[in-house]
Symmetry: C2
Amino acid sequence: MKLYMTERSGNAYKPRLLLAMLNVPYEKVVLDFPKKEHKQPPYLKINPRGQVPALEDDGHVFWGSTACLVHIARKHGSEKWLPTDPAGMAQVMQWLELAQNEIHYGLQWARGVMNKIKTGNLEEYQGYGKTGLEVLEGRLRNNQWLALGRPTIADVACYPYVAVAAEGGLKLEAYPGVTAWLKRFEALPGWVKRV
Amino acid sequence: MKLYMTERSGNAYKPRLLLAMLNVPYEKVVLDFPKKEHKQPPYLKINPRGQVPALEDDGHVFWGSTACLVHIARKHGSEKWLPTDPAGMAQVMQWLELAQNEIHYGLQWARGVMNKIKTGNLEEYQGYGKTGLEVLEGRLRNNQWLALGRPTIADVACYPYVAVAAEGGLKLEAYPGVTAWLKRFEALPGWVKRV
């Protein structure tokens, strides 16, 4: 199994976390982000979207963090990290969707603007990010984990950019359920630092 | 099964299409979009993100188009519309991810700006949308369907906003694989018009 990634990418951090938690060995292919290797033809053959992560396994390439998480969870995580019953799977999916929406073009883009790696409307992105944090807090105020009574790929998908929300100007102090969940997540066996 | 929706929402159109194609009866709960009913407390209890669609079934509520599609496909579509083997499921998921990214904040947002229901940087959104269309074209030039050799929820998720890409200023003439796929999709048994 080969993971195309950069060390700093929060999206590539998602499969890295799950692989570490499941103790699955894999080969890291680290792209040169400053040289825009992810936007050059050789890599675009692997992932036409020009982003990391992508995962090569069993003769297939899967691009995008959700596809990577789903492949790893289904192959190595049994039903624990991604159940296949209709209600359980849909409950996991709704948080993966939050990760792709309010967390991505909210928290992540706000951080991108503040870190000067992206241009755009900071206030708009912070507004989406705030909605995302409120939705997370609504769940985590009275629950330990996002989708089910145990950690799933929903938690893995939401964690990386929530953990660095402050870099986008959104303070986590107002969200005690979220901050407690971040600590709980970081205490899981196999958890690794991003860089 | 109750579907919270508006008639015009492309995201709500996704589960409506799948329910129609699978011939599953359901109750429509149509929200008053101009009166912002989707942003008022009674609905926010159902979907804290303040968006449509949401699906109520078996004592659960699932919000977001991906979660709705996954629930319906797993409950009523057997392995056909969403397989559960690691590679098959991940191949479907990568297109659901495109639908949540380049199609959503590309095609959909560009259309939103041009239809004056959203503010923002039209050129930026069109740029993302163009990437999305190119990725779709790369697949559909030599394949009939997005994820596998048959229609899956990947096609259902990508179809609604690609079908109206021209409203966001992106002409589909340059993408013959995509336009042929749109026609193929519209010929599937059970296909319904949005409005």
